[in-house]
């Protein structure tokens, strides 16, 4: 009996391994060629590099001011994500706890934002930022993200999750005499950690990789501020030098991949409860 069980799971393991290997081929290609010279790449694109060739990285760093652009992307993503998470968690609390007519309406109002086609409001948004005199600034970008469809999504996630937190938790805090804000931030919010984890990952991914909004607000080209804009510009300049393009991509994707690996457990826990039962 035990032997049979063993065989079955081995077979499954191997099958999934093969599946994963096939799935990873495009990424493997990118990684492998980032370490090859142009000649080597054109000769044998799919074999692992015979020697670790770091010149691509040096060349890329000479052409793009990588550290500054990284810092920019990091700054934009982290501040925007923090804003989104804080505002959304706060907003989700009453929407999850009290189903008054007002709250039901506000919930629906937020959901509508998810359905607005991307790119619709770009032109009007620029005009608005110009009127508010924050066009072209980081502040404008932060506020745009903080008021964007991202909060619609994150509020949705939090509402589902908060609903699974027992009301007794809030109530015992109130009975002890705590005010609403204190109750939320000190008692409830820590319990929402899994959902916060998921929200951080999803929002970070989206904002780090966003092209249109930073392009419109900050401008692109050689003065590209974020890593995604920089890749776009770089790839446009060196369309055939795939080995360099892959190098830049590797540099761009690595931080987010690391973030994901670190927060994997939180992410998954956050996705299960509530957010999925939406």
């Amino acid at each position: 009996m035990k032997k049979k069980f063993f065989k079955k799971s081995n077979f499954l393991n191997i099958f999934v391994t093969i599946l994963a290997a096939l799935y990873a081929v495009p990424m493997y290609t990118a990684v492998v060629n980032a370490f090859k010279s142009y000649k080597d790449m054109t000769l044998s694109p799919f074999t692992p590099p015979t020697k670790i060739y770091l010149d691509n990285f040096i060349e890329v760093m000479n052409k793009i001011n990588l550290f500054v652009i990284y810092r920019n992307s990091l700054l934009i993503t982290s501040v925007s994500v923090v804003l989104v998470v804080i505002l959304s968690a706060m907003a989700a609390y009453p929407l999850a706890r009290y189903t008054t007519r007002l709250n039901k309406f506000v919930s629906k109002f937020f959901i509508v934002g998810l359905m607005i086609p991307s790119g619709l409001s770009i032109i009007s948004l620029i005009k608005l930022l110009m009127i508010l005199k924050i066009s072209g600034t980081y502040l404008g970008l932060f506020l745009t993200y903080a008021g964007s469809a991202w909060i619609c999504l994150v509020i949705f996630m939090y509402v589902g999750f908060i609903k699974t937190v027992p009301k007794q938790l809030d109530e015992s805090a109130y009975i002890d005499g705590a005010g609403y804000f204190r109750t939320f931030w000190q008692i409830i919010f820590p319990v929402l950690k899994p959902c916060t984890g998921s929200a951080i990952i999803i929002a970070s991914m989206g904002i780090w990789n966003d092209f249109l909004t930073p392009f419109i607000l900050l401008g692109g080209g050689d003065n590209a501020k974020t890593i995604t804009l920089a890749i776009y510009n770089f790839a446009g300049k060196y369309t055939s030098r795939f080995n360099l393009i892959f190098t830049v991509m590797l540099l761009s994707a690595t931080p987010i991949i690391i973030l994901f690996i670190l927060m994997q457990k939180q992410f998954i826990k956050g996705l299960t409860s509530g957010s999925v039962k939406g």
């Binding site: 804080i86 110009m130 072209g136 692109g220 050689d222 003065n223 300049k237």
Partner: protein, 441 residues
């Protein structure tokens, strides 16, 4: 305890936000080259207003590379130390879309290059009218009139034709084709040797588009009706006509015979140039400016050129008006901008390096002495003796097609290249043209 954490977060946010406020989009990044003048002042400069002025000079990297613009800017700022020129180039985005976005955001550069000036810029009062002093130096700018006014200079001539690999032709005993039929035969011979006859592609739509324009030009439309584009604006001719279809059909047939190579749809401008210069493709339909790019690729064969053949009779040279940069009407330093613009577009000190690098044929009053590539000179001498027509895609001023149509045309071109029903495509082309024509106020 948690409260203090919250406080910390708020404080952190506040500091970040205020730092962020400081660094607006004009912060000093390594990629923005700030060219400062350091030379000693001459009496001329002492007399000049020593008010420091900053100008932004912008272009697509493909049109005028940063290197070149930096080099030329340095020359200017050495003579005008109060002027700082920030060069800003971009890649990967289509020109018009890029600048339109900047227009909407109120961030137009002081002086920028755009191939065809889209009327939306003019209607938004975003482009400065060129003063007479500039027009006097670039007289052909008078051809680029929009509703009686001149917004964009014209300071060089363009020639469109087919570059070819002399070695391959010699090996296969091919003569320069004078008719489409001869071109067909030559391509068949080349293809039989497993060499791609033509380097072209539609990843950068304009490359394939330009090639198709040559068929369009030659298929009795431009050759029989030289002002076809102008007539189309007045609705006197249509794309859905035998002459136009003849040219498109020829292009489509060539593609079906495999003369353009199979991966053509995804090949970019850069890749096409590489393909030709490394001998993988035998012919390259392109404009004169590409000569500047050949040298860097070190071709191991001699490059020739022949004008695009006609269906019957003698072929004509296909020319274009080389448009120049424009000046933003919102510039904070109009006097300096005009001065720089004038110098950039007509002064031998500026035009010599530009024409040399970009293989341009200058068309200004000043005599420009520069080291022209012998290939360029041979092209000029060849075409000087020929009759010529203006390329369909190279119209300027009031004669440009409705805004946005060029893109649609190129997309339809790629559709035809991909094997669509030509009749349907040209009918669609007319529909789209008329739609946009309504807007051309």
């Amino acid at each position: 305890m948690k409260k203090s954490v919250l406080l910390m977060v708020v404080v952190m946010l506040f500091t970040i936000v205020t730092t962020g406020c400081g660094s607006t989009s004009t912060s000093q990044e390594k990629s923005t080259s700030t060219v400062q003048a350091t030379s000693q002042s001459t009496t001329e400069e002492v007399l000049k207003q020593a008010e420091p002025v900053t100008l932004t000079l912008s272009s697509a990297e493909e049109s005028y590379p940063k290197e070149l613009l930096d080099k030329v800017s340095k020359i200017y700022t050495a003579k005008n130390p109060n002027v700082t020129i920030n060069v800003d180039t971009f890649s990967g985005m289509e020109q018009v879309a890029y600048y339109k976005t900047k227009l909407a955001a109120g961030q137009l550069p002081d002086i920028f290059f755009i191939n065809t000036l889209d009327p939306v810029f003019i209607n938004a009062n975003a482009i400065m009218e060129l003063p007479q002093e500039v027009i006097d130096l670039m007289p052909d700018s008078k051809l680029n009139t929009y509703k009686g006014k001149i917004y964009q200079g014209v300071n060089n001539k363009q020639l469109f034709g087919v570059f070819y690999n002399k070695k391959i032709f010699a090996d296969l005993s091919i003569q320069e084709p004078k008719t489409i039929a001869e071109l067909d035969a030559a391509s068949a011979l080349i293809k039989a040797k497993n060499i791609t006859p033509f380097a072209t592609g539609f990843k950068d739509l304009w490359v394939g588009g330009m090639f198709m324009e040559m068929y369009f030009n030659t298929s009795a439309t431009i050759f029989n009706t030289p002002d076809w584009d102008i007539k189309r604006l007045a609705n006197e001719v249509k794309y859905d006509s035998p002459e136009v279809i003849k040219g498109y059909q020829s292009f489509s047939d060539f593609n079906k015979k495999g003369y353009f190579g199979k991966g053509m749809m995804g090949t970019s401008y850069q890749q096409c140039t590489e393909k030709f210069a490394t001998g993988k493709a035998a012919m390259y339909p392109m404009g004169n400016w590409v000569i500047g790019d050949f040298a860097a690729l070190k071709p191991d064969f001699e490059i020739g050129w022949f004008p695009f053949p006609a269906f019957e009779g003698t072929t004509k040279a296909i020319k274009g008006l080389g448009t120049w940069f424009v000046i933003s009407a919102e510039t904070k330093s109009p006097k300096e901008a005009i001065d720089f613009y004038k110098w950039l577009g007509s002064d031998p000190e500026a035009m010599a390096p530009i024409c040399e690098r970009m293989s341009l044929i200058p068309d200004v009053n000043n005599k420009i002495d520069y080291k022209a590539d012998p290939l360029l000179l041979s092209i000029i001498s060849k075409t000087d003796t020929m009759d010529s027509v203006v390329a369909s895609g190279a119209q300027v001023g009031d004669n440009v097609p409705p805004p946005g149509f060029a893109d649609i045309q190129q997309k339809i071109d790629s559709e035809i290249a991909a094997g669509s029903d030509i009749i349907k495509s040209v009918q669609n082309q007319d529909v789209e043209y008329d739609k946009l024509l309504k807007l051309k106020k």
